[in-house]
């Protein structure tokens, strides 16, 4: 099983969730996953560029894939947006010869070529490979943590592209979460989009979706939300600040990255988990987290 990857960080993590990167690196080190720098990486283009112009998007993500391919490495990313974009481009370039030709026409001028040899994986996929090892490293169980796990869309769908978990009844990341002693609770809107991609077009609609999600997570008995994506996390840990329902009740729920709770339960250096950078107060669960 491969444990060496070039790590594709994307734009959102270095911009506002450096604690996700730091906690990912801490967990990776504890599991001997080797994360190489992705020299020359630009934005993947994500659904933003795909919405504007598919040729530009295919070329931009295609260039990133071709860089890792040239160096003979597989790619891992902790971001659903980057994962979805890179996987989707990989899928199109694999299946549509015309598109591949057009993209390679662009890449030729940069001394690159896409042939599709590099595998693209999400960081949680790699963690799932190592779940037995993770289980053996849990030293500080998080009993009492009731997690509304939000898998996000592009980790799962379209399933023929993502190829990770059951798109209607996913369980793999939940298994990882429960290794920590936490409970991944069932909630009605678990699989619904968080609304984050709409922040660029309509913050109003994005926020209405977020309110529905948080109200449902709370009603289902969760005491925190866990994600594996900086775009989704932007909703839960930035946009949710000060959010209330129609009765003026706070909708805030502590928001954590899956790597932060794994790191805590594995007893890793708390400084590196970056909990002090979490914007929504962790006070309601600080006793459970032991912080």
């Amino acid at each position: 099983m491969n444990k060496t990857y070039e790590v594709f960080l994307g734009c959102a993590i270095p911009n506002r969730f450096n604690n996700y990167e730091s906690s990912m690196r801490a967990v990776a080190e504890a599991l001997d996953i080797k994360l190489l720098d992705f020299d020359g990486a630009t934005c993947c283009g994500t659904v933003v560029l795909k919405s504007i112009d598919e040729y530009s998007w295919l070329s931009m993500s295609g260039r990133n894939i071709a860089l890792a391919e040239k160096r003979g490495h597989d790619i891992v990313t902790p971001c659903n947006g980057c994962f979805g974009s890179l996987k989707d481009v990989d899928h199109v370039l694999h299946t549509e010869e015309e598109q591949r030709k057009a993209v390679n026409e662009v890449l030729k001028e940069l001394g690159l070529e896409y042939t599709g040899k590099s595998k693209i994986r999400h960081f949680v996929e790699v963690l799932y490979d190592l779940k037995d090892e993770i289980a053996s490293k849990i030293v500080k169980p998080l009993e009492g943590l009731k997690v509304a796990f939000h898998p996000g869309c592009h980790l799962l769908r379209p399933s023929k592209v993502a190829g990770f978990d059951d798109p209607e009844l996913p369980s793999k990341v939940d298994e990882l979460i429960e290794l920590t002693g936490a409970k991944s609770i069932p909630w009605n809107l678990k699989l619904r989009c968080c609304g984050s991609p709409l922040l660029i077009a309509s913050e109003d609609v994005a926020t209405r979706i977020l309110k529905e999600k948080l109200a449902d997570a709370k009603a289902s008995g969760a005491n925190c939300v866990v994600t594996n994506c900086p775009a989704c996390h932007t909703q839960y840990d930035v946009q949710a600040l000060g959010l209330t329902d129609e009765n003026g009740e706070s909708l805030e729920l502590p928001a954590l990255f899956v790597t932060q709770i794994l790191g805590l339960a594995m007893g890793l250096d708390e400084e590196r988990l970056g909990l002090e950078l979490d914007r929504i107060s962790l006070d309601p669960v600080s006793d459970i987290l032991g912080i």
Partner: protein, 172 residues
């Protein structure tokens, strides 16, 4: 109903000048458009859509408009209020790549200048900076993270010049 996007608010009292078979064909040639005409209007797509209750025109109605060849579809709010969650595509019993078709429609609308201003700014930002957001250095220093790997912005500009990203709206 949202007032946040789209000129096309309702079918009520609406008349369409043209049923354009060429438009339907053009859409079926988009990435993911190959099975467009298999839609039988079961509306399962709208059943799972997170914005069905927040738009004027729902996704199964968009699909119907496409089959009728109604180019006015590009002015509906559904086009830009799609969250890209892929639930409709995942569940379509006819295997239609609905979300991917919507991306193609966004491309068409963008070229006609029918797009939220944030997208025009994002295109320029990607061209100028090669990324959508810049790293926050003080956070990285606090956490003792290395600098984000570098890239040559000229490579990005060369690539996006070739794909004509900043000229798309001039060509229509």
């Amino acid at each position: 109903m949202t007032e946040s996007w789209g000129r096309f608010k309702s079918f009520e009292g609406m008349t369409f000048k043209k049923l354009d078979a060429k438009f339907t064909k053009k859409v079926s040639e988009l990435i993911g458009g190959q099975d467009l005409t298999a839609c039988f209007q079961c509306a399962k797509c709208s059943g799972g859509c997170p914005v069905s209750d927040k738009v004027n025109i729902q996704i199964h109605e968009v699909m119907r408009m496409l089959l009728f060849g109604l180019e006015e579809v590009l002015e509906t709010d559904m086009i830009w209020l799609c969250t890209t969650c892929y639930t409709c595509q995942e569940r379509c019993p006819q295997g239609i790549d609905i979300t991917d078709i919507l991306f193609g429609l966004k491309n068409m609308a963008y070229r006609k200048g029918i797009a939220p201003p944030g997208y025009v700014a994002a295109a320029q930002g990607l061209y100028n900076n090669g990324r959508l957001y810049e790293p926050t250095d003080w956070e990285r220093e606090d956490l003792e993270l290395d600098d984000v790997p570098e890239f040559d912005i000229n490579d990005v500009k060369k690539l996006l010049d070739k794909t004509r990203l900043l000229k798309l709206q001039e060509e229509e």
